[in-house]
């Protein structure tokens, strides 16, 4: 009788009878599950995280297709429809003080917010990972120098440091993105340094070193891949913070400048008409809230999936 435990198409067949004639004729098919596959399975079971991911994908798609999907030009002024309430014909979410369509501005604004959020995280992560790898792996004076620099950056409240950098570079969307990216560097550097410190003493790294593998190759092939789990979780949660911080800077007049359709700018401009037309500032704020909530839900789900012991 054949007893077969089938676990899918890429299963590894283990013929227990081969080379052992005295054993019963049993064929066991066992699929070893990789940690990534297990994490994905856990993530798929987390309904909140999956819904958040779907929401973010749909939003990303909408913003990519902004030129096609946005019903109007986001900076086209139409004073006849000034502060038109939601539901007005041609203005499903109403119009702002210059009669610009809020829905179109939200769609285009989403494009900027997502770009700034992911862009800033990418920049912060690249430099943070690099510094963390060097500090953690080489130790000594390079570690001291990098970590003292990181300490100084962390001596400022995050948003204050971003404001200080903008004070120097001048207001503008690109400078705001750069400022929040610089503020984010210590976060990644510390995560990576912590992981590297424990990894560099492990046998597989010692083995690689002992057969003469170069430091660069050890870092890129052996150390970095093992830091990816916590990094991905941190980055997912960080995108939300970056989006909020960038919108906050624009709200202060230090980031994107009018007439750009950016959520922080929209909120700031809508404030003046909050008594008569609250939707002008409520809607962009709600958009920021929903995106950040989705990113946090997805980030939490991802963290639980990658490290189920952290669930508690």
């Amino acid at each position: 009788m054949d007893k077969k435990v089938d676990a899918g198409p890429d299963s590894v067949a283990v013929d227990a009878s081969a080379g052992a004639r005295h054993l019963p004729d049993v064929v066991l098919t066992v699929r070893p599950r990789s940690p990534t596959r297990q994490a994905l399975r856990r993530l798929r079971r987390d309904r909140a995280a999956v819904s958040a991911a779907v929401f973010l994908l749909v939003l990303a798609l909408i913003t990519v297709l902004a030129p096609v999907l946005a019903p109007q030009d986001p900076i086209k002024i139409n004073l006849e429809e000034r502060l038109a309430p939601p539901g007005t014909s041609g203005y499903p979410l109403g119009a702002d003080d210059l009669g610009r369509d809020i829905l179109s501005r939200l769609i285009w604004g989403g494009r900027i917010s997502l770009l700034v959020g992911f862009g800033a995280v990418l920049v912060a992560m690249t430099f943070g990972v690099l510094l963390g790898l060097i500090a953690g792996y080489f130790g000594g004076w390079s570690d001291s120098l990098i970590m003292r620099g990181i300490d100084i950056l962390m001596a400022f409240p995050a948003i204050l440091l971003a404001i200080a950098i903008i004070a120097s570079l001048g207001p503008g969307l690109r400078n705001a993105m750069l400022a929040i990216a610089i503020v984010g560097i210590p976060y990644y550097a510390r995560i990576v340094r912590g992981s590297v410190l424990s990894l560099r003493e492990q046998d597989f790294v010692t083995a690689a070193r002992s057969i003469g593998v170069s430091s660069y190759r050890i870092l890129m092939r052996h150390v970095l891949p093992n830091c990816l789990g916590p990094l991905i979780v941190a980055a997912t949660l960080d995108v939300g913070w970056m989006i909020m911080a960038a919108a906050g800077l624009s709200f202060l007049g230090l980031g994107a400048q009018p007439p750009t359709a950016e959520w922080g700018v929209m909120l700031s401009q809508g404030r003046q008409f909050v008594r008569h037309a609250p939707w002008v500032s409520i809607l962009p704020g709600a958009a920021i809230f929903l995106v950040v909530l989705a990113l946090n839900l997805f980030g939490d789900g991802l963290r639980d999936a990658l490290d189920p012991w952290l669930r508690e």
Binding site: A155, F156, L160, L252, L254, R275, I282, G285, I288
Partner: protein, 315 residues
């Protein structure tokens, strides 16, 4: 412990040097000649050269830095270009308002966040636990400057219950009036910190209530209320102290946005106006003051933590 205090104080000196260095460099990198900005349209080559010499701008960078730090230590933060007055007294006045707001928000965050965290942990997986953790997530994800506007619409404009801007009503400067003006901004500012403190308290409590000494307390017949209040909470709150301290720092930063929303005359409002008017002495002073108080709060928290947790040996 005393060795730890000395080490921590030394690291504070290092951090303060770092802060002054960074603030100095950031302002050096700023485009525009401060002398030109100060003199405005009246500038001539001779007057510019004279002012640059008076301000020491013709000196090498390291000399400028040392002189600037020397002046700052003596309490001379320079004169504001925009306000035409000494920066430090003005900023200290504004900083007092910011301190009120920060302290109020910190108290709200602790008074709400800690009990919510304890309740969630004690009734893990209950309806209350799930509901409060959803609220925590919402608190994390809400842009505070937007929440401020929503609260202004609801409590100020629609219900007419609370003032929506400023620090005092015209002609009044009593504490009751200040308190009423602080309610909406401090509630707004406290939201994120409340969420973080609640989450931290919950996870700290969950760890503590599984410890042997808590089981022992239960097994000797103490009521659940006593076990939680006398044995679990005290120990669970030790790590929360650090989080609360960190949150005070974040609140100091978050103040900037809230002060703009509520036109609250704090240091953040002064700083943003200073940046937009390119008033560098004012901006430099404001950043320096906030960053220094942040460093001092961090020091206080670290020392308090070392005092509260005798298990940790600082060597």
């Amino acid at each position: 412990m005393s060795a730890y205090i000395v080490r921590r104080l030394l690291s504070l000196v290092f951090v303060l040097i770092g802060i002054t260095l960074l603030v100095f460099l950031i302002m050096q990198l700023a485009p525009g000649d401060p002398a030109k900005i100060m003199l405005g349209t009246k500038a001539t080559e001779t007057s510019l050269a004279q002012l640059r010499h008076e301000l020491g701008l013709d000196q090498p960078l390291h000399i400028q830095y040392i002189r600037w730090v020397g002046r700052v230590i003596q309490g001379n933060f320079g004169r504001s270009i925009q306000l035409k007055r000494e920066v430090l007294p003005f900023l200290l006045d504004r900083f007092r308002n910011t301190a009120y707001l920060t302290l109020f928000a910190a108290v709200v965050a602790c008074v709400v966040g800690i009990p919510v965290g304890i309740l969630s942990a004690v009734r893990q997986y209950s309806l209350e636990d799930r509901a409060s953790m959803i609220l925590v997530l919402v608190g994390f994800s809400t842009p505070l400057f937007w929440l401020g506007i929503v609260l202004q619409i609801v409590f100020g404009l629609a219900l007419g219950l609370l003032p929506v801007s400023g620090i005092h009503a015209t002609g009044r400067d009593d504490f009751a009036d200040l308190f009423v003006h602080l309610i909406l901004p401090s509630l707004t500012l406290a939201t994120g910190a409340t969420a973080i403190i609640a989450r931290m308290t919950r996870s700290s409590m969950l760890e503590v209530i599984r410890q042997d000494y808590v089981r022992t307390a239960r097994s000797k017949g103490l009521s659940e209320r006593l076990v939680i209040s006398r044995h679990a909470v005290k120990n669970a709150l030790i790590p929360v102290v650090t989080v609360v301290g960190m949150q005070v720092g974040y609140l100091l930063g978050g103040d900037v946005l809230i002060e703009i929303v509520f036109s609250y005359p704090g240091i953040g409002l002064a700083m943003v106006n200073g940046i937009l008017a390119r008033d560098f002495p004012l901006v430099q002073g404001a950043i320096l003051l906030v960053a220094t108080s942040y460093a001092l709060v961090n020091l206080a928290v670290d020392l308090l933590y070392a005092y509260l947790d005798p298990r940790i040996h600082y060597g």
